[in-house]
Symmetry: C2
Subunit: 300 residues, 2 copies
C-alpha cells in the first residue's frame, strides 16, 4: 500500500495533465492547478481534489511544478500568489521545467531558506509517458529532497536518474538532452527532405534509415508523423526556440560555441515564424520542403 | 553448399579487408587487390588466391569495389589498368563507395554497354561488421545484377535493402544515411562537451543520454570512445569532409539548403585541419574541447 499523500501539480498542459493523472492513479489526494479553468475542472471531474491553492497549500506534502520555463516557475513559487510562503516545513517542491542550472540552484537556495526541500527534476518522455507514469526524470537534490519526493517519483517516473545531491545537475543533463533532441529533429527533417530530392520517399526513408547508423530516437519517433502527414502536436515546434534558446544562453555564459544547436534553432524559428509554432515539431520539415519546392505527404 | 565463385575485392582498407575475409570464409575463390602490397600479401597469407588482376579478371564472376570515392571507383573500373574491359560478359561489378546517384547511374550505363551487370551497393556498419559478414547494404540495380551479386551479398551482408531496379537509389539512400550519421557524431561531440561545461561528466553523459530521447545510434557507438580516451580509428575523421562534401554537392545540384550538414562539415574540417584526420571520428570532440578550454578523458 502506498502511503496517501497530498500532492499538487501546478500546470496542466500536455505533460502536467498526464502527471496529475498518474499521481491520482497512485492513490494520493491530488490537486491540479492551471491558469486555464477548463483544465482544472476536467481534472476534478476525473477525481482530482477541489480547493483553492491558497487554501490547501499548508496541507501539501509535495508540489510538482510543470510549467513552461524559468519565469513561470519563479512566478508560481515566489510571485504575488506564489505557493512557497504557504507550504509547511519539510514539504518538497519538484521543479520540472527546462531551466538553466544556475536558476535551479537559486530556487533551491530560496526554498531551503523557507525550510522547504527542492528537487531539480526536469522530465523527458512526452505526453504519452506522462499519462502512463513512465517518464524519465533527471533529478538532483539533497537526500531529504529525494526522500520527500519519492511518492511522486514512484507515481510518475519509469526511470529516475539520480544525478547529484544538489540542484543544477538535473537541469544540466536536461539541457544536454534537449540540445541533442532538437538537433536530431531538425537533422531528421533535413535528411528526409534531402532524400526526397533524390527520389527517396519518406516511407522508404523511415523503413531503411531507422535500421541504419543514421538513426536516432527522435527520427524513429517523429519521422512517421511526416509520413502520415499528421502534425497533431505531441510536442510543438514552439518548444524548440525556447529550449534551444535556454541551451544557447547557458552555452554563451560558459563561452561555449554550439554551431549545430544554433543552426537547428534557426530552422525552428523559421517554422515558428511562418505560422507552424503550434504544430508538432516534425513540421520543421515543412520549412525545408518549402525552400526546396517539395510536397510532403498530406500536402496538396 | 555454396556454389564456389571467383570473386575479387578491390580495395583492402578497413572495410574492404573485412569484406574480402567474409567472402573467403564463405568458400569462394577470393582475390584481394590494393595499391598497398602489404595488404595483398597479408590477405593471401590468410588464404586469398594469388594472381595479377589483369591475369585473373577474365575468370571473375564478381568484382566488389571498396574504394574511397567516385574518382577511385572510376579509375579502378575504367582507368588505364581498369578491370572492366577484361571482365567476362555477365560478370557483376558491385560498387560500394559513397558516390553521387548520378555517378552511379553513369557507371551502370558504362558497364551495361560492355555486357556487364552493375550493382549500386553502398555499405554501412563499420569495419567490425565488414569482418563479420554482417554489413547493411543499400542496393539498387537490375534483377540480373542482384542475381549475379547474390553470392557476394550472402557472404557479406546482414541486411540488404533492395531499393530499386536501377543504379542511383542505393547511393541516394547512402547519402541520406551519411548526412545523418555525420551530423549525429558532431552533435554528440557538441552535447558531450557542452555538458562538461555544466559539470556533466562524459561517463554520466553516456549513462543517462543513451537512455533518453536525445540518443542516436552514433552517440551510443562513438561517445564511449571519448569516455575511454581511445581514438583508434574505427572510422576516421577524414571520412566526413569527404562524405558530407558529397552530400552537399548533391544538395547544391538539387538547390537544397542543408544548414546542419554544413555546420557539421565545418567541425570535421576543423578536426582534420588541426591534425586529427586519421583519428577516430569521435575526435571531433577535441575541436569543441579545445575551443572551450576543456580537457577530455585521457588528455593531459
Amino acid at each position: 500500500m502506498v502511503e496517501k499523500k497530498s500532492i499538487a501539480v501546478i500546470g496542466l498542459g500536455s505533460m502536467g495533465y498526464g502527471i496529475a493523472q498518474s499521481v491520482l492513479r497512485a492513490g494520493h489526494t491530488t490537486y491540479g492547478f492551471d491558469i486555464n479553468p477548463d483544465a482544472v475542472a476536467r481534472f476534478q471531474a476525473e477525481g482530482g481534489a477541489a480547493g483553492a491553492l491558497s487554501d490547501v497549500a499548508g496541507r501539501l506534502d509535495a508540489v510538482m511544478v510543470v510549467v513552461l520555463n524559468a519565469a513561470q516557475t519563479e512566478a508560481v513559487l515566489f510571485g504575488a500568489d506564489g505557493v512557497v510562503p504557504r507550504l509547511k516545513p519539510g514539504a518538497v517542491v519538484i521543479s520540472c521545467a527546462t531551466v538553466a542550472p544556475d536558476f535551479a540552484r537559486a530556487m533551491e537556495a530560496a526554498c531551503e531558506e523557507k525550510g522547504l526541500n527542492y528537487l531539480d527534476a526536469p522530465i523527458s518522455g512526452g505526453s504519452k509517458k506522462a499519462a502512463e507514469g513512465a517518464l524519465s526524470i533527471m533529478a538532483s537534490g539533497t537526500p531529504d529532497a529525494f526522500a520527500a519526493a519519492q511518492p511522486v517519483l514512484d507515481a510518475t517516473a519509469g526511470t529516475v536518474f539520480e544525478l547529484g545531491d544538489s540542484a543544477g545537475a538535473g537541469s544540466a543533463m536536461k539541457a544536454v538532452n534537449q540540445l541533442l533532441a532538437g538537433v536530431h529533429i531538425a537533422a531528421m527533417a533535413e535528411a528526409l527532405t534531402f532524400g526526397m530530392t533524390q527520389g527517396v520517399t519518406p516511407e522508404k526513408f523511415v523503413e531503411v534509415i531507422s535500421k541504419c547508423a543514421g538513426t536516432s530516437w527522435m527520427l524513429e519517433n517523429r519521422a512517421p508523423h511526416i509520413v502520415d502527414g499528421d502534425y497533431t502536436p505531441h510536442s510543438s515546434v514552439d518548444i524548440w526556440p525556447k529550449d534551444l534558446g535556454i541551451v544557447l544562453d547557458i552555452a554563451k555564459s560558459a563561452k561555449f560555441g554550439a554551431p549545430l544547436t544554433a543552426a537547428a534553432l534557426q530552422q525552428f524559428l523559421a517554422a515558428s515564424g511562418s505560422g507552424l509554432g503550434r504544430e508538432d515539431d516534425a513540421a520543421v520539415a515543412k520549412v525545408y520542403a518549402r525552400n526546396a519546392g517539395l510536397t510532403l505527404p498530406g500536402e496538396s
